[in-house]
Amino acid sequence: MAASHLLDDREDDGPNGSCQVMVMMEERTHPQATPCGNQVDDKPKSTKRLQGFRKALRKNQDYSRISKPSSSQLPSEWWKTGIAFIWAGFNLVLTTIMITVVNERVPDKSVSPPLPDKFFDYIPRVEWAFSVTEVNGMILVALWFVQWLFLKHRAIVGRRFFFLQGMLYLYRIVTMYITTLPVPSMHMDCAPKLYNDSHGKIKRVLQLVSGGGLSITGSHLLCGDFLYSGHTVMLTLTFLFIQEYSPRSCRWRCYHGFCGLLSATGVVCILVAHEHYSVDVVVAYFITSHLFYWYHTMANNQALRDSPHNYLNRTWWNWVFNFLEKNVKTPVPCTFSWPLSLPYVCFKNPCKSYSMVQSARDE
């Protein structure tokens, strides 16, 4: 009988009961030889046997249900990604407007000299360091973009990236505006103030947006956007996303290490170039990493969302989070797929073998 086979298998397994299978019981009448040869009625015997079988399984083994994240649990919902993209774009434009406004309020270098900064005391300025930062930043963004293209659930991940980026830039707008720090170093040449020239200001905004705010493209002329550092935000955020949405095997860890190195070098070079105060970089790193962890913990733990003792939902953006992540019920598994659906057999997916079984084992 099949049941005894299963029960024999039990003897070989370890104490954890690592054969994790959910046996679906069906009511089937088994034609069995009746014991003792006396009894006549077949049906109650077999159902009784079935019940005994169930009890035996329940008693002797631990079964845990493994629910595969089906596509219904991770819906794409590209329109939500579109909204997040608009949100990020809106905040980027608002940031550039704010930088233009703040540039008017930056005190002149002669009036307000650069503030004392511990890092600047020890490390003198190196001119080309800022280009290193920006090159690193562009490499990281490109790497992340390529990785994102190959993710299977790119709608969900993209949504998260845009939302977090928008949030971080929004916070940056607030801190930039309320208090204006002086320039960190005498080398900085700020664009002249246009007191009431709104036409000129609009042109500046467009120039900044088109250049992405990078000095390599020649659009980093405005001052005043010091607390906190947008370059640090991008470097840290892209690295965190790259690390989070890629497999965790040995080869990939080298890749993570490389990206981490790029990110760290970029951040240090900002300070070496005396382009930001140390406190700008520290605060930016802190806020970025905390927001990232916060969002992903909320998103990965379904139990948290329903719990009444979840203080994570006391943030002001909780309703946006609920809107974006309402239908995402499980952590996004690390699966890759071609961006344009080529036949599946062509692509030997390295990550497929590290699907949820691996992650469960890691845990």
Binding site: S4, E11, P35, Q51, G52, P113, P116, D117, A303, H309
Partner: protein, 419 residues
């Protein structure tokens, strides 16, 4: 269920099915009740039983032992046996601690089925801590207190160091600040802020004394406040902001005079850094604002660990806190960004810590728990590993008051469960 001795073959097979041992059914199909009771290990060594059994019949023999006892019990009951504890002794063996013993009495079945004395079963008494989900571990609270003290001391030292680096007002005028543009300075506002702060701290301290699980809550408070002041040390130190207003009178700089500096540190610690006590004479500690931290944190703790019904109390504390923070800015004593960053850090750390403490799943390192990547996860686990569940809002008079009033029985609300 009828007695084992009266069982027929079909009863035996039914029993085997119930016990989940259908594999023996075919082999024992001609076995009835008494024969079942007579089964022993030798029977399992010979066929046909040796072919079906996987564990040389151990499990089945255990079950048969249980059957034997139950049949004993029934027999004794029928004989009106006087020693009732004997029956209990039997039952106890099968049920001690929820785990069935291996069913073998050392000397086999007693000769006439009677034990002269009851069998004592020792239930291992768990240590106190494992019993309650909210153990009072004052040692850990002491560690947290020392940590907070260390952080306060470091902050004072760093303020004293930073004071030397603050650029003079003439060289570096106050930075442009939106709030200062809108509101002019009001002189007495800072005293309001400090009075509010002292009130809130006093209220929180009284409330803490009345909590039942004060060691756990105290531990959390000290740890959070210590960490916030530690972060403050870092941000204060790396970049020095100039004074926010020309009204500031900073103490003169003592270049390299360590003795005088340490005396300043002592004075500041003794006064708590408040200007009311005259110990707020050092400049440079602007990013971020310690006053805001204390005002916000005490309010958060007060609200968290007091009954929900006392909404008026929460509102009063909220007003105290908000007015205090507003007055800091009104007095032009801190930049707006200092206050905003301080509020953000305090609330985030508080909510983060408490969410982690309230969810068992977040106390372990796993790929889904990104909160475990934070640097203070180790100390957090140390403090909160034995706390299982959400600390309930129970109240209890502190020890001294309890001993004084323990003469008569009280049915007060103070020693009650608060949902």
């Amino acid at each position: 269920m009828k007695e084992v001795r009266l069982w027929t073959c079909s009863d035996v097979s039914d029993w085997l099915t119930d016990e989940g041992m259908q594999e023996y059914m075919d082999a024992l199909q001609n076995v009835d009740g008494p024969a079942l009771l007579k089964l022993s290990e030798e029977d399992f060594k010979a066929s046909p039983l040796s072919l079906v059994t996987g564990d040389s019949g151990r499990q089945l023999l255990e079950r048969i032992e249980t059957l034997r006892f139950t049949s004993h019990m029934k027999a004794h009951k029928n004989n009106n046996h006087e020693k009732s504890h004997h029956a209990n002794g039997h039952a106890g063996i099968a049920l001690a601690n929820g785990s069935v013993s291996n069913g073998k009495i050392p000397n086999g079945i007693p000769k006439n089925g009677l034990h002269p004395e009851p069998i004592r079963i020792l239930i291992p008494s768990l240590p106190e801590q494992e019993r309650t989900p909210y153990p009072t571990e004052w040692f850990k609270t002491g560690v947290a207190f020392l940590y907070a003290l260390f952080c306060f001391l470091t902050t004072t030292v760093v303020i004293s160091v930073v004071h030397e680096r603050v650029p003079p007002k003439e060289e570096s005028p106050p930075l442009p600040d939106k709030f200062f543009d809108l509101f002019d300075r009001v002189e007495w506002a800072f005293s309001i802020c400090e009075i509010n702060g002292m009130l809130l701290v006093g209220l929180w301290f009284t409330q803490w004394l009345l909590l039942k699980h004060r060691s756990i809550v105290g531990r959390r408070f000290f740890f959070i406040v210590g960490t916030l002041y530690l972060y403050r040390c870092v941000t204060m130190y790396v970049t020095t902001l100039p004074v926010p207003g020309m009204h500031f009178k900073c103490s003169p700089k003592l270049f390299g005079d360590w003795e005088a500096q340490s005396r300043r540190v002592m004075k500041m610690m003794a006064g708590g850094g408040l200007s009311i006590t005259g110990s707020h004479s050092l400049c440079g500690d602007y990013l971020y604002s310690g006053h805001t931290v204390m005002l916000t944190l005490t309010y958060l703790f007060i609200k968290e660990y007091s009954p929900r019904r006392f909404w008026w109390y929460h509102w009063i504390c909220w007003c105290l806190s908000a007015i205090g923070i507003f007055c800091i800015l009104l007095a032009h004593d801190h930049y707006t960004v200092d206050v905003v960053v301080a509020y953000y850090m305090t609330t985030r750390l508080f909510w983060w810590y408490h969410t982690m403490a309230n969810q068992q799943a977040l106390k372990e390192i796993s790929t889904g728990n990104l909160f475990s990547r934070v640097w203070w996860f180790g100390p957090f686990q140390y403090f909160e590993s034995n706390v299982r569940g959400i600390v309930p809002r129970n109240y209890q008079l502190p020890f001294l008051l309890r001993t004084m009033t323990s003469a008569r029985v009280k049915y007060s609300k103070l020693d009650s469960r608060e949902s």
